[in-house]
Amino acid sequence: MVVDVLYFAWLRERIGQPREKVETEAATVRELVAQLSAMDDWHASALSDLSAVRVAVDQELADLDAPIAGAREIAFFPPMTGG
């Protein structure tokens, strides 16, 4: 399947783009992260410390083991600092 992968804040800067389309067979967020990290050093660096990364699957906060079957949009970003 093809998913839109989005990046925000310093993840966007390190990876060098705000979004990309990714063809994947990953079953979970964690598997997708492994695939992305293998793409190049920028992805690997941005996703190296997962304790500093939050995830949303189809615009809902999710954890690394969340299934992504059928998902259209998966976003990676730092812990949020609104308000």
């Binding site: 804040a9 949303a56 615009q59 970003f77 949020m80 600092t81 609104g82 308000g83």
Partner: protein, 144 residues
């Protein structure tokens, strides 16, 4: 829509006109950009269009149900904001003051660490690091 994300400033008086009609108690919280002793040129706020609005609406609905709010509103700005400018506001209305206060504090605690906003400081040297989440904001959530 009671939840909005926008570039422009808002006027609290205008936003509250007609807000909470019939309620006895209205509480507002407004977040302003501090100047950090002159060190800060501006704050830059990024968000996740689409998810942000959904998340704010969900927080508001949850707060309304939990605290019996008759009305609520959340406005959060994004983009470049200078010292003294408003960052965001929440407003809650209820029959009694305790519920209005609690609802507003609950919304703020959620917003601080669960709404998809990120900010960084721009100083005379240019954009700095993205602001890191602080533990006390995470801790604040545990009381609810």
């Amino acid at each position: 829509m009671p939840a909005r994300v926008q570039l422009d400033p808002f006027d609290l008086g205008t936003e509250l006109s007609g807000f909470g009609t019939g309620a006895g108690a209205v509480v507002t919280f407004t977040g302003l950009v501090r100047d950090e002793d002159g060190r800060l040129v501006a704050l830059e706020i990024e968000h996740y269009p689409g998810m942000t609005e959904k998340a704010l609406q969900a927080f508001g609905d949850k707060a309304a149900e939990r605290f019996g709010l008759s009305d609520w509103k959340i406005i959060h700005r994004h983009g470049r904001l200078e010292p003294g400018e408003q960052i965001m506001m929440v407003a809650t209305a209820s029959r009694h003051r305790a519920a209005a206060f609690e609802g507003a504090e609950y919304l703020m605690d959620w917003l601080k660490s669960r709404a998809p906003f990120w900010k960084r400081e721009i100083t005379p040297d240019g954009p700095g690091e993205w602001v890191e989440a602080i533990q006390s904001d995470e801790d604040a959530l545990s009381r609810w």
